[in-house]
Symmetry: C3
Subunit: 128 residues, 3 copies
């Protein structure tokens, strides 16, 4: 009912790309979108970290060759044009010893899983 | 509320098998099921492409040895017996340069992500 | 509406860890949680089977080094403190030729996919 909640765990190109496209499409069409970044998706949102994700299969390899907009650029668009919010999982930050000031500018801030699940109560949650 | 929306991204046997079983069980019990095929799940739905998915782990290997109905056969049943609809992601078709006439018969047609998400508004979406 | 339904398919540490944390957080905060164990997540719930899942990426490796509570311990907490229910997929049991008496004590019993999907009708379903 109240928005779309996207959880990114995988560090693979295909999953990140599809998650980003979903966030972008939904945000631009007026849905409130919250993206929760954890596990192997998390490092890409640390400032200065590379934004190239490794491919899981043939589709990821072809996307890497062709000039497809990268997942990171699509997330940027979702935030800038569609007002999607990207949150970093506070547990992932603890484990990797990353502070909030070290995160990329498109990240709105740190969030705990408890808060995220509470905000997402009754809404659509997609796990990537 | 209005149906079950299944997104297949992974090209691995276990994920495809479970997605197909879910589509089949739901469709046969009267739920309207829409399956959206993209990323590494997409090539299996190109006419003439092999239908053997590689195993992610022990379960996929055992399923390959035993005479378990394949994910593709289960999707066929979901479409034939349960009236599930299978749609090919138009972005995946563009990237792989595949035309609608080259898709398998169980695919109802091409669909964009925007349309799929709009149709799925407020309903259950499962990402595989 | 009625509870949170979690499906564990992946045998990778990151996915299992996040699924377990989600189950635990939701259960402890009063949500009815049902966890359905299948595919490569299933063997970990056979009595005596190792509880170490292999890492998918950097985060899983760091978690393995640090003294993070394991996914299995978190599932135990979800069951003991939060009254979450863990069910073994009857199809996975058939394929692996495992009987209900061979399952770990935290598993409430075997369940078919048809029953699980029926129980989950209209509720949040998360696929890991």
């Amino acid at each position: 009912m109240s928005g779309l909640f996207i959880v990114c765990l995988s560090g693979q190109r295909e999953k990140l790309q599809f998650a980003a496209m979903t966030a972008s499409v939904a945000a631009v069409s007026g849905t409130e979108v919250s993206v929760f970044i954890s596990m192997n998706a998390f490092p890409f949102f640390i400032r200065g970290h590379g934004k190239e994700a490794s491919a899981e299969g043939a589709m990821g390899e072809i996307m890497a060759q062709k000039n497809v907009l990268s997942f990171y650029q699509i997330f940027e668009q979702a935030v800038e044009l569609g007002d999607a919010k990207v949150y970093a999982c506070s547990m992932a930050m603890d484990i990797m010893e990353v502070k909030e000031t070290e995160l990329e500018g498109i990240v709105s801030g740190a969030m705990g899983l408890t808060r995220f699940l509470s905000d997402a109560e009754g809404a659509q949650i997609l796990i990537f």
